[in-house]
Amino acid sequence: MTRKDQSFFLTLLVPVILVLLLFIAAPIGQSIFLSFHRIIIGLPQLKTPFVGLDNYQQLLTDPVARHSFWITIIFVATTTFFELLIGLFLALMIHHHFPGRGALRACVLIPWAIPTVVAAQMWRFLLNDAYGMVNYAVFGSETSHYIPWLAQPATALVAIIIADIWKTSSFAALLILAGLQVIPEEIYQAAKVDGAVVWRRFWHITWPLIRPALLVALLFRTIDAFRVFDIAFVMTQGGPADATNVLQLYGYKKMFVEGWMGYGSTLSVCIFIMVLGLAIIYVRMVGRRLLEASV
């Protein structure tokens, strides 16, 4: 690399680094800073004293936060599992050659292309207790049996989980499809010649070769699911009885509705640490798998 090249590369890098610092490092730093202070925006007379780890201590004993944490875990575990499963199924389906494949591929992607707020609003209508399509599909005109899905804690949580699975499975499918497409056709042909049936071909060729792609999808989906906010915000606003009060929503309420900037930041920092931890574990795993796969 010549000196000229070097300075050229540097010139290209500087804006990226600046943007990263400005829009990612700075807000995270700010949140961490705020989380060590007691800041209540409605009470400026209290100033913004440094309180050390007080907010974190409060978080550990906050029953609402604990409840939100478990709700979030349930949400992450179920949505990620089903999204990968359905995503894998969809990817295998649209990977095959058949007439109308292009159209089907486009259809599969539609839920993912719809903005979350619109999709959530749509699910809210579908699940309405008086005129929702879901009730009509299940009970027909027997309106007295209609179930208020979003008004019962258990079904409300299931509802936001289903809405998220519906919306994001196709994203997982897209990532897995990319993995499928790099598998050379020759391997399958060789396996066929050797007399391997469909199931064996899947288990011994497809599965090991798409595992890296699956891991990438897993990584994206877990991290995204941890940060769930919009679906719950639009469909239930955390209710009823806090049944869908996911961590991000709780943090939002603390920070923007109640004005506890310090405590709200503490919640965000904790979500950030959890997601970062997951990301590190995954990246290590994915990194290793990718290396193995490319050998």
Binding site: S7, T11, V14, I40, I41, G42, L43, P44, Q45, L46, V64, N128, D129, A130, T143, S144, Y146, P148, L150, A151, Q152, P153, A156, T236, Q237, G238, G239, P240, A241, D242, Y252, K253, F256, V257, E258, G259, W260
Partner: protein, 430 residues
């Protein structure tokens, strides 16, 4: 070197653009920004803005529309005001916000422009709600109070008078449901979603049983006393899933009103605006068949309704306080409150509008509301109200959702949390 040079050029261009934008504004009328939310009848408000522009050629009002939900709108307004953002001049305040906005130094103190004699022309409730430590921080635009709507035709058919007590409402409702034999008909429809409206509805039950959240005289939290607990338990056992559909646990105002105007509920609790919607034959199946009055109470107690409504506030950091004042004075004038009352069914805050013959001709019921409006009770007036409200919403929602819930245990825990919050609020008064 090259990087530096290009950076300077970029900043130069951006700077020049900003400067140009500033310069081009000179010589034009003052533009003020009014941050509001999307009203139910936007065309009525649009008409008011146009009237203002005709009468005040020197001021242009730019309207910015925020979310319809009070707490989400609150989040947007407070975010902009706390950063001393000068791009908002006038904003709408829910009746529960003035102490917070005053204490945080976001709302301009209007005492010199809006002195006592002027304040006396308004109803007492909204004025009290806008005062904080001797100053006044908002001008009441319209007020709300929980009202009791009922199907006049059905009550007449079964020879009932509008119920005075909640228990009576249940017995009447049962008789009507039996007689009508309509599987979709319910006794009652109201707002029980976990949001601000839940606090309003539940407060009315608690007050009408002689209870409260915070005792007015002693300042003590009394949510865990028997009056409040009985009222909450009554809602859980007799309203949710019984008198009202179970889905009411996810109802805000529009959903609950929808049940009523589709003819699927005999009784309904809502704000004054519902009168216009329910009597609009294009939207309502029961237009002309409804009556309205004070909410029932528990036996031996008095009816109570929660004070609601919206006020105009001026950003303390606004660069155009004079134009902003001109705008809000115009919007709260007798004539404009009259338009809002007659065309959007929004209850006036000025006393004089309640005597206006034209208003009374179109809305004869308005005068009968006046005592209820005068008596409407505010939710706790505190700069930390949003925190108190979150605790209350959580408590009420948990208590009414689960029939096996231990209401008194939850009330005790919630009271303890609210006491802590109230203490925070009193720390500043030292």
């Amino acid at each position: 070197m090259k990087i530096l040079k290009s950076t300077i050029i970029v900043f130069g261009i951006v700077g020049a653009l900003c400067l140009g934008a500033q310069l081009s504004r000179a010589g034009e009328p003052t533009t003020i920004v009014f941050l509001t939310w999307k009203p139910n009848q936007p065309e009525v408000w649009e008409g008011l803005f146009q009237r203002f522009h005709r009468n005040n050629p020197g001021v242009r009002v730019k309207v910015q529309v925020g979310p319809h939900s009070s707490s989400e709108y609150h989040a947007i307004v407070t975010q902009r005001l706390k950063n001393k953002d000068t791009s908002v001049d006038v904003f709408f305040m829910d009746v529960i916000w003035p102490p917070e906005f005053a204490n945080a130094g976001w709302a301009l103190d209007l005492t010199s422009r809006f002195p006592d004699p002027e304040q006396n022309k308004y109803l007492r409730g909204p004025i009290t709600a806008n005062r904080y430590q001797g100053g006044i921080y908002g001008m009441p635009c319209y007020l709300g109070a929980g009202l009791f709507y009922y199907r006049k035709d059905l009550l007449n058919k079964y020879d009932f008078e509008p119920p005075l007590s909640w228990e009576e409402m249940l017995t009447q409702g049962q008789a009507i449901l039996q007689g009508e034999n309509d599987a979709e008909l319910r006794i009652y429809s109201a707002q029980f979603k976990q949001y601000e409206g839940l606090v309003c509805d539940m407060m009315e039950f608690i007050w009408s049983n002689g209870g409260a959240v915070i005792d007015n005289k002693t300042g003590q939290v009394v949510l865990d006393e028997s009056a409040a607990i009985e009222a909450v338990t009554f809602v859980r056992d007799h309203i949710i899933g019984k008198a009202a559909p179970r889905g009411a646990i996810n109802y805000e105002e529009p959903e609950s009103l929808d049940v009523f105007i589709q003819g699927k509920a005999v009784f309904h609790r809502n704000w004054p605006y519902a009168w216009a919607m329910a009597n609009d034959p294009k939207k309502s199946k029961i237009a002309g068949k409804i009556g309205v009055g004070p909410l029932p109470s528990f036996q031996g107690q008095g009816s109570a309704s929660t004070l609601g409504g919206w006020q105009f506030g001026i950003n303390r950091y606004s660069k155009h306080p004079v134009a902003a004042w001109q705008f809000i004075r115009f919007m709260t004038s007798h004539d404009n409150q009259k338009i809002l009352a007659m065309e959007a069914s929004l209850a006036p805050t000025r006393r004089s509008v309640y005597q206006d013959p034209e208003v009374l001709k179109k809305m004869p019921h308005l005068k009968t509301f006046l005592p209820a409006f005068e008596k409407a009770r505010p939710r706790p007036l505190s700069p930390v109200y949003p925190m108190i409200s979150q605790e209350l919403q959580r408590f009420f929602s948990r208590a009414i959702v689960d029939r096996r819930s231990d209401v008194s245990e939850m009330a005790k825990a919630t009271s303890a949390r609210i006491e802590k919050i109230v203490k925070l609020g009193t720390m500043i008064q030292k």
